[in-house]
Symmetry: C2
Subunit: 145 residues, 2 copies
Amino acid sequence: MFERILVPVDGSQGALKALKLAVEMQKTTDAELLILTVYRHHSLREKSMSMVRASDPSNMDDVLREHSKEIAEHAKQYALEHESPRARAFVKAGQPARTIVKFAKDKDADLIVLGSRGLGDLEGYLLGSVSHKVTSLADCPVMVV
Amino acid sequence: MFERILVPVDGSQGALKALKLAVEMQKTTDAELLILTVYRHHSLREKSMSMVRASDPSNMDDVLREHSKEIAEHAKQYALEHESPRARAFVKAGQPARTIVKFAKDKDADLIVLGSRGLGDLEGYLLGSVSHKVTSLADCPVMVV
């Protein structure tokens, strides 16, 4: 039924619920499980916070990337521990909804599972609107958990 | 994984895609498949078309209900023909998104599968916004197809 299930995670409780269901779906269908964490480039973040200027933007990007890697790897670990062996973790920079939809297309994902609400703070996520955008833009079915 | 899958149908191509996937999900999980067609009460329709007055409102409701029954039964037939025997068809009157969400709660559905866009004309559906509303209001996962 599904061959490649994409689950975007951001460390939120909503994303954890989505991950749990995606792992169940993966085991039922024997699909690949693609775990993706998206972070906003410092340049993008700066646009919306033009009053705040970091002293070292490149370092800020590094910190965000490392933090995102940890979130994605942690999710992958969860999958492996729950007998879902076909999990791979990815990290991308960009606007969350568009990056998720583009990644799904690039990887030929045939299902996206995501939380109805994620982090609305540090990561600039507001996954409520991310999930709406993803369901509108994606070519494949989107399961909002 | 799922015990009761709800699929709202309105006769649109989007709803048919949702129905096809819901049937696949039903067969994989051996869940019950609840098929629901929602029509708007004439009183509700009249609100948004206050310039138009039908000569016989009760008759208009009957026509809408019969039409909706046909759509739901047709969808059930599709399920039966595709080896998905646990299908039941329902018809309800009301505002689409709220009626779908309430029905899901009443029936303890643990998954709603619906088209990203449905009929935006006669039935007053505009399922684009219906799917957004349902994903926001539902207590269970919603798969937008």
